[in-house]
Amino acid sequence: MDNIKDTILEVIYSIIPITIVITILQFTLIGLPAETFIQFMIGVVMVGFGLVLFLLGVNVGLLPVGELIGSALSKSKKVWMIVLFGFLLGVVVTIAEPDVRVLASQVDTVSGGEIPQSVLILAVALGVGIFVALAMLRIVFNISIVVILAIGYGLIFTIAAFTPPVFVPISFDSGGVTTGPLTVPFVLALGVGVASVIRGKTASTDGFGLVALASIGPVLSVLILGVIYA
């Protein structure tokens, strides 16, 4: 029961402040028709209700799955399996990530269907998957995170030179939205699980840095998508 109360409070805290600012703006500067504003308020309630259910579901069902898979994988001690399933998990979790869906549908609308929602989501998911796999390799072989970050950003700036300018903001935004309410706990659970089995409890900080890597992947993959489009 405490869990439910905490989740409800959590959602209220993350939604209320912006709603208040918007309401103040509505009555001072914006002045939309009452009907539109009511539609917005109903949207706020639905988003809040949806987020509560979603977060509860993630905690009850999805996160335990992530942890179980993480520990089952690392017990197998086979590097190729850890890497392969790290990749698959990255892909499937991103496909279900709400923030990624919303960004992709906005890009779809604004680009007038030129960049379809499904294509962008797939590109982002592949990017996350590949970098989660890399992150697993990093934990297994104890590679410094700074090295991977530097190489990752180096690649980003190189590939960006060959991609149409329109794709640049979209790619960086894709990197930002992958750090949503599903990917972060899921990927962290997986990483911490693998790190603690492979190198004992002292290595628990190894699990961190995973989210950072997971958000470089989509930037790269969407830039590459741009090169393909061009």
Binding site: V44, F54, A96, V166, P169, G175, P181
Partner: protein, 256 residues
């Protein structure tokens, strides 16, 4: 009144079902070959998936009928104002308050507290993050109004971050780069982004696709830079204090 609340809800539920299917399939593969969980546990997980399904459907429906259209409309109104400079304080307040109450931030604060041994006061971190994200949104507004390429913000941002990393401890580097996500929560990526697209669409000479997006990227940079900077500042302080206490110990030794 002409409200469209459940318009297209069926399509949204279908989309969500397709979105969750791959994860469910992967779980079944693991269940059959590795996990072999007992029925009770399976039931729990099933309930979890069901909750996630309905939660995601309602969330996306609310976003589609409320946040996206109204956010864009509000952006259009704001972008058409006579006093465009007003957008800057508005952006700052949106960013500041979005992060100030964000639950993910308290998780981050707890992490930093543990990693720094309590050297960084919680309030300092909270205000640095809130102001940082507020400023990031102000920069994003300036970018739209003046039509500056995203590169001029992102490139220096990441170069500064990589330079700061050289002076940072390993733990702090990891926490900082993971913290990018705390500010890009469901409100930022949906409502504020829709507002930006709206502003870009009414500002002359701006392409909503090229100039409207990019805001999330700037907002994600702010916590990274904030945490890295605070980490270094307070590390210095810690060292300085260490040095002083050592010196004191030395002089005390001499006095004896």
């Amino acid at each position: 009144m002409n409200l469209h609340i459940f318009e297209g809800f069926g399509a949204t539920m279908e989309e969500v079902a397709i979105a969750l299917l791959p994860l469910l399939l992967l779980f079944f593969v693991f269940q059959i070959f590795f996990l072999r969980l007992p029925k009770r546990k399976l039931l729990d997980i099933g309930v979890g998936f069901l909750l996630t399904f309905f939660g995601l459907s309602f969330f996306l429906q609310g976003v589609h009928i409320g946040f996206l259209p109204v956010g864009e409309l509000m952006g259009e109104r704001l972008g058409a104002m006579d006093h465009k400079w007003l957008l800057l304080p508005i952006g700052f307040f949106l960013g500041f308050f979005a992060i100030y109450a964000e639950p993910a931030v308290s998780v981050l604060i707890h992490q930093v507290d543990k990693a720094s041994g309590g050297y960084i006061p919680e309030k300092v971190l909270l205000y640095t993050l809130s102001i940082g994200v507020g400023l990031a949104i102000v920069l994003a507004m300036i970018r739209i109004l003046l039509g500056i390429s995203l590169w001029y913000f992102v490139l220096p941002g990441y170069i500064i971050a990589l330079i700061l990393v050289r002076f940072s401890s390993k733990t702090f580097t990891s926490i900082a780069f993971d913290s990018g996500g705390v500010a890009t929560g469901p409100m930022t990526a949906t409502f504020i982004l829709a507002m930006f697209v709206g502003i870009a669409s009414v500002t002359e000479g701006r392409d909503p696709l090229l100039d409207g997006f990019g805001m999330v990227a700037l907002v994600a940079l702010a916590p990274i830079l904030s945490v890295l900077t605070l980490g270094i500042l307070f590390q210095r302080k810690e060292k300085a204090q260490d040095g002083k206490s050592k010196e004191r110990a030395k002089t005390a030794h001499h006095d004896r």
